[in-house]
Amino acid sequence: MNRNVKDTIVESVAGISVLLIIFIILSILAITIVGGWPNLNWTFLSEFPKDGMTKGGIFPAIVGTAVMTLIMAVAAVPFGVITAIYLAEYASEKSVFAKTIRFAVKTLAVVPSIIFGLFGLGFFIGFIGKNMDGIFNGGELRWGQPNILWASLTMALLTLPVVIVSVEEAIRTIPKDMREASLALGATKWQTIRKVVIPGSVSGILTGTILAVSRGAGEVAPILFTGAAYFLSDLPHSLSDQFMSLGYHIYIMSTQSSNVDATLPIQFATTLVLLLLTFSLNGIAVILRYRIRKREK
């Protein structure tokens, strides 16, 4: 076959693939906006669901998602930052321990999210929660059941690799010059990390946090068995309470509702809220990451 013809074919196939992807994204956006926008108003955002979820708003699901991702970030970010510092600053490239951690992080990143849910159910609820009840509550059931704390911690495990990878990447962009300058002034390694490396990695830490939050806000499977509730007439007041979440709310309205058709407008509007939330979080992360890359040059 003529070379030019081959080139043309490759170019066309690539072009069609790109168009297809853009078409899919635009379709999702269009369907969600057309279906959801008319129902999106202040009442919808600020009220509890009513009449078997065919009316009212999604306020508790918004609050639940926000609180869950907050607890998740509080757990995942420090842990991820410390791991990233270890990998970037202390571990030698050849050490077996560091290789093991890297392998574990990569594996963690590809484990299906439902497995995290099952792990959370077995580990946090079945093991830690049950034992906490045995020790602190005389066996009375409080922590040994799904709640917002266990759901958040399960989600933290899922998002940990995101934090570790972003932070490590940012730490590695800090020039060797800066570390040497600090060490040559008589700073210890830890002082160098604390005063030069971490302040220089703030945008990476932020990026990691935002990506983790946006991932955590959208995931459903990990919280399915560990804390998300079908419907609650009240907001969670303690870590041992269950909570409602946006993703789970969409799932139950579309599968568990007695009148799926009646919940359709609410489904669309909820989906739109969730999409706007995750898109804008990702957008911020992209901007921050762009800034880090620029510094690298």
Binding site: M178, A181, A184, L185, G186, A187, P199
Partner: protein
């Protein structure tokens, strides 16, 4: 002749199995400027970095021999490297101020040494910036980012930052190689001022700079110290053929 500040005995350094420095012995006088010259890859920068143990940061480096500063071998097991680096400051080829304010750059060293009293810090910062001949240029913008300064100012800021730790010895690794002639002249002038108080060791590619600024010159070639003597003697009457070829520009 001044007292000896640094005495190097039979120093050999390997990167993996490659010898980068071979059996170097020399005595560096106190409160003088000693220049290290030689073609790229001759080991002069590597040697400079053995004097404050910056080579410790590189994997696979093996060092034998002694470096005695003020009577103590800095490669003894119980030497506190952090403390050593406070006494032996270093200026790098590329100016490397932190992405902090001018003030915080200079105060970095004193702060990690536990000085937190505001007045004391102010005093050190002002004194160090004056010593580095940059005070007049930055006194109005101490709290602006150090990265907003020009290249030459950044390098003098780095010198001020090093002076703030109050070292005895200042190592300079081609401190002016990235600067324009005017900034270079300022740095050279500054070196003359600083040698009243500090022992200065400067690595340079620039023969004229070595001739202008230093009291003693050491010529390195392929990891060996070829010749080390008073600068005026070295440049007017070198005793080795290689030295003569190098300083007259026949290779390099």
């Amino acid at each position: 002749m001044n007292d000896i500040k640094v005495k190097v005995n039979d120093l050999t350094l390997h990167y993996g199995t490659n010898p980068a420095l071979k059996n170097i012995s020399m005595e560096i006088p106190e409160k003088m400027v000693t220049a290290f010259i030689g073609p790229s890859g001759c080991g002069k920068s590597t040697f400079l970095r053995t004097l404050n143990r910056m080579n410790d940061l590189i994997d696979n480096v093996k060092i034998e021999g002694e470096v005695i500063i003020d009577g103590l071998n800095i490669y003894e097991k119980d030497i506190d490297v952090v403390n050593l680096r406070k006494r032996v400051g270093m200026i790098f080829q590329k100016s490397n101020p932190f992405a902090k304010s001018v003030y915080d750059n200079v105060a970095f060293g004193p702060r990690i040494n536990g000085i937190s009293h505001r007045n004391k810090l102010d005093e050190i910062v002002e004194y160090s910036l004056k010593q580095a001949a940059i005070w007049d240029e930055v006194k109005g913008r101490l709290h602006n980012s150090a990265l907003s300064l020009s290249g030459g100012q950044q390098q003098r800021l780095c010198i001020a930052r090093t002076l703030a730790v109050n070292p005895d010895i200042i190592l300079m690794d081609e401190p002016a190689s990235a600067l324009d002639p005017i900034s270079t002249a300022k740095i050279e002038e500054l070196i003359q001022e600083l040698k009243q108080q500090y022992t200065i060791i400067i690595v340079t590619h620039n023969m004229q700079q070595a001739a202008r600024t230093s009291d003693f010159t050491a010529f390195f070639y392929l990891g060996e110290l070829v010749e080390f003597k008073k600068t005026e003697v070295m440049f007017s009457n070198p005793s080795k053929r290689q030295t003569e070829d190098y300083i007259s520009g026949r290779f390099g």
